[in-house]
Each structure stands twice: as structure tokens, then as C-alpha cells.
């Protein structure tokens, strides 16, 4: 096992308008499961390929443990990768696929057989060893790809959206299996996904990427509760965080809060000196409804989604769209006007460019 360190990693593809990775610095701790989260095209798979040695960075270094591996070929990095489409060799059986890397190393046949059997047993592939990839279901292929990676006992596991090709129910099941596997192996894993649910449930830490840049690294709770900027804030949680744009008015002479206005909303905030455009983020679960004129402002109800355990209400607060998530079944009518309460303890303040202020 080993840590993975990226130092100022930059990668520009020939002819591409902008760099795929820009000065990316990140440390994956030994034995950690780190999730790289971001929308497609943000560069997260490229990070993985740089660690694996399938891409040569334009600048910066990749360290595995204490070793600088930036210019080493993949074979010498001791990493294993699970590809998005599994890339199981179609002409080999499951057992041959799992044994492939071991055979290349010239490992004795008995040892190979022992390891293959053990890995297959662990992932429930014992009965499928003589099948070819084409004869496996999506979940079975996924397990075979994992076994192929696992059997090598590498320093680092790289997983590239391994669950994106299996159906929703199986995905939740495999998610738990992967977490259990990580615990059992105590392996360093870098897990790439665009699914925030996977990121939140699986990652010990989450690294959020956007346009080749690292925006924030932290535990799921940290990233959820203190997003570093508006992009991260909206990346986690459904429905996404409400972002209200506006300006702080008035003065804080009497030690009172100043008033933030956005649409029909008037929100007192404790920002004595800040001037200029401001963005306030508030998660839908921190928005409540009350009688008209009793809250921070009023809103007209546009859409009501009854989900059973909660009710999601889409509102128009004087031109400012807002989503509220109310517990249980709430009896509200589309087209009526309600008062809105915002939980002051859970307001996120961002400056005009989207960076967190406090």
C-alpha cells in the first residue's frame, strides 16, 4: 500500500483549446478511498490515466509512496485499473483474464492458481471462471474486472466509473460491496465518478474537479457542509442548493446585522464590512414555509412534488427561484402565496465570483 501524490499536475492535449488538467495538487493517503467527483469532461478520468501512466503530464509530478513515477511506464508503477467498460480481454476466459498480469510477471503456476481461486471466491466468481466475458452479465463483468485488479495486490487501485454500466439496483448493491472490499483490503483506491450519491456514500474523502482544476478536497461532511465555492455547493445534494444573488444593504451601526435583499427576500446577515455583489447559498432542507409576511419574504408556489417522506416545493420569490424541501406530506397548493423562512445557521455566503466568504 502506498499514498499517491500529485504535484502541480498539468496536461495539455495537442491542439486542444484549454488544458485538460491545470496545476492539480492532491494527496491520496495510504489506504484511503478517495473519490474524484465532477461532471463529464472535467478531467477526472485524465487524472486517473496520469496516475496509471497512460498519459504523460505536460508538467508536474506523480508520486506513488515516496517514489516519483512521472516518467515510468505503467508496468513499473504497480497500479491496477478497473476501466469504465471493464476492458476484460474478450478472447480469454474469466480465469485467464484474472491470471493475465500474474503470468506476465512469470509467477509460478501454482501460486497463480491459488491467487485466482482466492480472488474469484471472494468476488463470487468461482462458478464463472471458464466463461468468456461475453457470456457474463454486467455485474459479473464488473466483479471479474475487480478480481483482475485485486489479484495483483497493487499499491494503488484506480477505478474509472466502474458502476456506470450496471443498472440502478445492482449499482447500490455493488457500491456496498466495493466499500466492504476496500475495508477488507485496506487498499489505496482512487475512485472516479460523476454520481454524487456514490461520492457521498463511498468516499472517505471527496475531491471535486471542474474544468481540470481541483476545487475542494475533504470528507463528505466537510464538502457538504462547507462547500468551498458555488460549483461544489451545487454538485452535492439533491435538489441542488439554492443560490440567491443580491447585495448587502444598510449599515451595521447598532451592531445589528445588515440586510441582504434578493427578489422579495430580506435576509439579515452578519457581514459588517463586506461591500459589493454577494451570493447566498441555502439548501432546500433549510427553507421552510409559514404564513404570508411572517418570514423573510413571500413566494408563489409553482410546482409541488409529493415524494411521501418529503415534499419538494418550487417557488418564485419575487423573481428569485427557490426550492424548499419540507419533511413529510405537506398540504400546499400550487398558485398560492406563502411566507418563507430561511435557517440562519445554515446560510452559505459566497462572493460574486462564487468563492466562499467565511
Amino acid at each position: 500500500m502506498a499514498s499517491v501524490t500529485l504535484r502541480g499536475l498539468t496536461l495539455a492535449f495537442d491542439g486542444a483549446a484549454q488544458a485538460a488538467l491545470r496545476d492539480l495538487t492532491l494527496e491520496v493517503r495510504d489506504g484511503e478511498l478517495l473519490v474524484l467527483l465532477g461532471p463529464s469532461g472535467c478531467g477526472k478520468t485524465t487524472v486517473l490515466r496520469c496516475i496509471a501512466g497512460l498519459e504523460d503530464p505536460t508538467a508536474g509530478d506523480v508520486l506513488i509512496g515516496e517514489r516519483v513515477v512521472t516518467s515510468l511506464p505503467p508496468a513499473q508503477r504497480d497500479v491496477a485499473m478497473v476501466f469504465q467498460n471493464y476492458a476484460l480481454y474478450p478472447h480469454l476466459t474469466v480465469s485467464e483474464n484474472i491470471a493475465f498480469a500474474l503470468e506476465l510477471r512469470g509467477m509460478p503456476a501454482a501460486e497463480i492458481a491459488r491467487r485466482v481461486t482466492s480472488a474469484a471466491g471472494r468476488l463470487g466468481l468461482a462458478d464463472l471462471l471458464e466463461r468468456r466475458p461475453a457470456e457474463l452479465s454486467g455485474g459479473q463483468r464488473q466483479r471479474a474486472a475487480l478480481a483482475r485488479a485485486m489479484v495483483r495486490e497493487p499499491s494503488v487501485f484506480l477505478l474509472d466509473e466502474p458502476l456506470s454500466n450496471v443498472d440502478a439496483n445492482l449499482r447500490i448493491e455493488l457500491r456496498a460491496e466495493l466499500v466492504a472490499l476496500h475495508r477488507a483490503l485496506r487498499a489505496t483506491m482512487v475512485y472516479v465518478t460523476h454520481d454524487q450519491g456514490e461520492a457521498m456514500t463511498m468516499g472517505q474523502r471527496i475531491a471535486v474537479l471542474h474544468e481540470g482544476r481541483l476545487l475542494q478536497v475533504g470528507t463528505p461532511a466537510e464538502v457538504y457542509q462547507r462547500p468551498a465555492d458555488v460549483f461544489v455547493a451545487r454538485s452535492l445534494g439533491t435538489p441542488a442548493m439554492n443560490i440567491l444573488a443580491g447585495r448587502a444593504r444598510g449599515t451595521a451601526e447598532s451592531g445589528d446585522d445588515r440586510m441582504f435583499e434578493s427578489g422579495s427576500l430580506h435576509i439579515p446577515i452578519a457581514l459588517p464590512t463586506y461591500e459589493g455583489e454577494l451570493q447566498i447559498g441555502v439548501r432546500p432542507e433549510h427553507v421552510g414555509v409559514c404564513a404570508v409576511d411572517q418570514g423573510a419574504g413571500n413566494g408563489d408556489i409553482l410546482i409541488v412534488e409529493l415524494l411521501g417522506n418529503e415534499t419538494v416545493v418550487h417557488l418564485n420569490a419575487g423573481g428569485q427561484p427557490l426550492v424548499a424541501r419540507l419533511p413529510g406530506l405537506v398540504d400546499v397548493q400550487v398558485g398560492t402565496r406563502v411566507g418563507l423562512k430561511l435557517d440562519r445557521r445554515h446560510l452559505h455566503l459566497f462572493d460574486a465570483s462564487g468563492v466562499r466568504i467565511q
Binding site: 496509471a52 501512466g53 497512460l54 511506464p73 505503467p74 508496468a75 497500479v79 491496477a80 485499473m81 476501466f83 467498460n85 471493464y86 476492458a87 476484460l88 480481454y89 474478450p90 478472447h91 493475465f100 498480469a101 506476465l104 510477471r105 468468456r132 466475458p133 461475453a134 457474463l136 463483468r141 483482475r148 495483483r152
Partner: protein, 592 residues
Amino acid sequence: MRRWAVLATAVAAVVALAVLAVARWEEGRYARASAARIARSTAAYFEAVTPANRADSSDFDLRHLLAQARALTTLPGWEWPVEIYHGTAPLVDAAAPPLPPAELERLPDWRDGAALVPLRGPLNGDGDGEAVVGVVAVRPAGRGGLGGLLLSWAFLAALLAVAAAAGAKFRGRPHREYVAAALLLGLAAYTDVRGAARCSTNDWLTATRLLMQEAATRLPGPRVRVVLADVAPIGLGADLVWADSGTQRPRRVRIRGTERAVVAARLGSGRWADIRTAPAEAFTSVWLVALLGIALVGPFGFAALQWAERTPARPLRETATAWGFLAPAGLHLAVFSVGPMLFALYLSVHGASAGFLEPVRPYVGLENFRAVLGDPLVWASLGKTALYALYVPVSMALALAVALVLNRPGRAALVLRAAFFLPFMSSVVAVGLAWQSFLSIGPRDWLGSQRTALLALIVLSIWIQVGYQMMVFVAGLQRIPQAYLEAARVDGAGAWQRFWRVTFPLLRPVTQFVLVTGVIGAFQMFTLVYALTGGGPLYATDVIMRRLYETGWASLEFGRASALSLLVFVVLLGVTWAQFKLLAGRRAVEHA
């Protein structure tokens, strides 16, 4: 539902009627052909036996002509209504209407149900004879054959089966009864046609026998004995041979492997001659195929309608369109591949015919195959061909290497790929001739030496084929997803291991395609040899295709050439099968 059933019944009835109509038409054609042939023989008879009016006249003696015409109709066994016109005047039945003068000028082949043949006057010394002096008209003998009766019964049976099939619910059951009835109908119709064909030959033989026998007694003297040449014109070119004796009924005799229709004519006391001709029924097999084919259109149409009735409109339209697109290729395949193959099969078991276009060929069984297998030149050429085919794996290895190098983006790779492909795109003959002059420049004549000629061809073939094989390999390489190679890199495989353990196995279907088509192509190679060496020097480059060509077109032994082509086919089948067995040890790979 009802609409479909009605339609099906209509189709079945129309097809049955079509079979009947075709058979009847063909029967009529045979009857007319027979009448026309008898008329020609009759005209020849009159021209042979009737003396001229005067020594230098180009007209017949009318009294003789009249007597002989009348006598003809009273011959025992003569059953064909005949009329002889002298000029436009009828001689046999004086009360009959005369021939319109205009028709004598431009004689139609057929008039009022009788075949018309001009009667030419006797040759005179001036050589301006052979003027048309009259007309011979012969009607077919009307007779209802057994075939017609059979045909009617089968038609009835077929109609019953159709009615039963259509009347029963229009369901997805195979209508075995209908197929059987249709086959029966086709077979009966064919029997009828064959009977008519046989009858037409027999009629002519019988008539010709009577005419020859009559002529033997009436030939104008002075003659000591009748010789065959005297009566030969009546036979219209049929073989005439003296025979010991013979039955006077037409019969079928196999003479040197060929079926002949024979009748014996008595040309004098104890003097018999056989009249031999090709039996018309020997050429009716095409009608068996045609009539069975037409008859089976019914059941096929029936099944198609059933299928159409079951299938919803959209897939129906799509399937119809698909068949529409397949039809031209299918037709092409049938006409230019399946047809010639069947013909080769036919030719391979038949001997040479008398003339190139003469369709009657004696059946010789496996004689052609025996001759081909016993020919040392054939074995030598097979060996040469096998040796030549060894170029395929060599050029494949080269092509794969080039493909691996040039399978990359960029203009340079593109230009190089095109350069390699160029020889394949050029005319083989042009390329060959260019090389021919090139090869003869040096200190030794590569193509002229018995030791190096085949080697030179092999090198030349590699040069031509490498580009093509390279392109196929490049296409195959580009189909292999990069992910497998990247997975192998991460798994620790070096470049060589990636090739042997991932690329090459995944390329197997392409490799197999190139190998199989390459070997087949090598066995079929002809152009280069034909253009460059002509099989020489001293058979050094006499590959199997050239041997075949030599046998067929130089020696005109089509039977042997066909047998040889079938042997090549069998060899190639074996080679291909072996290649599939050896190379496809594992099932085809699917990209997961």
C-alpha cells in the same frame, strides 16, 4: 382473413393453369416442328423421285407428280394430312382452294394449321434450277396422348388440393398435400411434354422410313441398286447406315454413349438401312426443371401469402424491401455462379460432343475424373500451385508488420498506406509486364529459367498482395478497442506481449479472412501466368488454373476441364475447412 384465402386460391389456380398452358404450348410446338420436318422430308422425296418435265426444264413432270402425290396419301402407315401444290394448284384434293399467289412468293412457315415447305424444281444443266415450283403442306396428326389424360387427372387433383388447402382455415400449417399435388402436376406436365417430344421424333422417323422405302422403288432409272446417297436427302442429314435387318417401329438405341432414335427402312429385297437421329425428348430435361419450378410457385406463393397474412404491415414492408435489395445479387449469383457450377457438373460426366454447339454429349460417368487424376501434368500443376500458395503466409506476415507500423494517424502514414496499396489497384497485366521487362534486364532471366520462374511469380505476387492485406489488417487493428491494450499496459505487458497476447488473438477473424481468401486466390491465380510465362518454361509455372484453361480452351476437352475445376473446388474446400479447423480452435471472439 377471407381476402387472403381467396387470393391464395386464385394464386394456386393461376399457377396450375400456367403449368397446363406451358405444357400445352410446348406440346403444340413439338407437333408443329414435327409437321415441318415431315414436310421438308416430303419435299425432298418429291425432288428426288419426280422426273423433270423435259431434259432441260426446271419444272417437274406434272403427271408423275400428281400420281406420286396421290400415292403418298394411300401409303399404309401414313397418317399426316398432306397437300402438294403445283404452283398454286392443289394436287391431292383437287377441290381444295388454291394457294394465294402472293403466298407462293413469300411462303409463310405455317398456314391454316399446316406446315408449308417450298418444293424446288429439278436441277437442269444450266444450273439455274431449284426454282420454287410448288409447295408441300403437312398437318400434324391429331391424336390425344396418354399424357394429356394424365395431365387432366393431375390438374384435377391439384385443384382439389388447392381447394382443400384454401378452404381449410388459413393457418400456419405446411400444406404437404398441396406441394405433393403441385409436384405431381409438374411431373405429369413434363411427362406430357416428353411424350410429345418423343412422338415428334417417332412421327418424323416413321414418315421418313415410308418416304425412303417408297423412294427406293420409284427412283428414276437407270439404276442397278439403290445406294444410300440416293435417299439421303430425304433424311435431312440424319445418319444413314446399312443394317442387317430391323424392326420398322422407331426405337431408342445407345450408340457410343449417345442416345439415338432409330428406325429401319427397307431399301430393297433384304437390304435394310437404319435412320438414326437425335431423339427430341433427350433435350426436354430443361422442361422438367421449368415445369416443376412453375408448379412450385403455387405452394411458395401460398406460404408467402400465409406469412404475409400473419405479419404486421411494417415488418412485411421491410422484408419485402430487403428481398427487393437482395434480388439483383441473388439473380446474379444464380446466373453467373450457381448456373455455371451446375453446367460444369453436367459437363464433367459427359464426353465431348461432335460439334461445339451440338448439345448431345455422351454420358461417360467418371471417365473424365479418371483421366484427370491419371494425368501427371495435373499432379505436377497441383504441386506447383501449392508451392505458389505458400506466398500467402509470407505476404501476410509482411502485411501485418507493415500494418502495425502504419496504423497511426497522420498524413505520412496515410501516404505510405496508399503507396503500399497501389500495386493491388493497378492492372495485374500491366504490373506483370512492367516486372517482366524489369526482371529480364539483370544478368539472369528470372522468368526464363525453369528454376526461378515460379519464385519470380511468388515475389511478384507478394509485392501485389501485401498492400491489400495490409489495408485489411489496418481496418482490423482499428476495430480493436484501445482499452484492451491500455489494460494490458497497466497489467504490465510490454509491446511484444501486447501484440502476441492481445492484438493478435483479437485479430484472429481478420487473419483468417485474409488467409482463406488469399489461399483461394492463389489457387485461382491465372492472369500473371498467362501474361508472363504462359505456364513455361517447361511447365515450371504451369499452375492448376492454367492447366484447366489449357484442357478446356486449347484441347477443347470441356468434360475434362470441368472435372478438373470440380477437383480444384474439392481441394479448396478441404484447404479452407482445414484452415478453419486449425485457426478457429476457439469460438469467434465478441467484443464484450
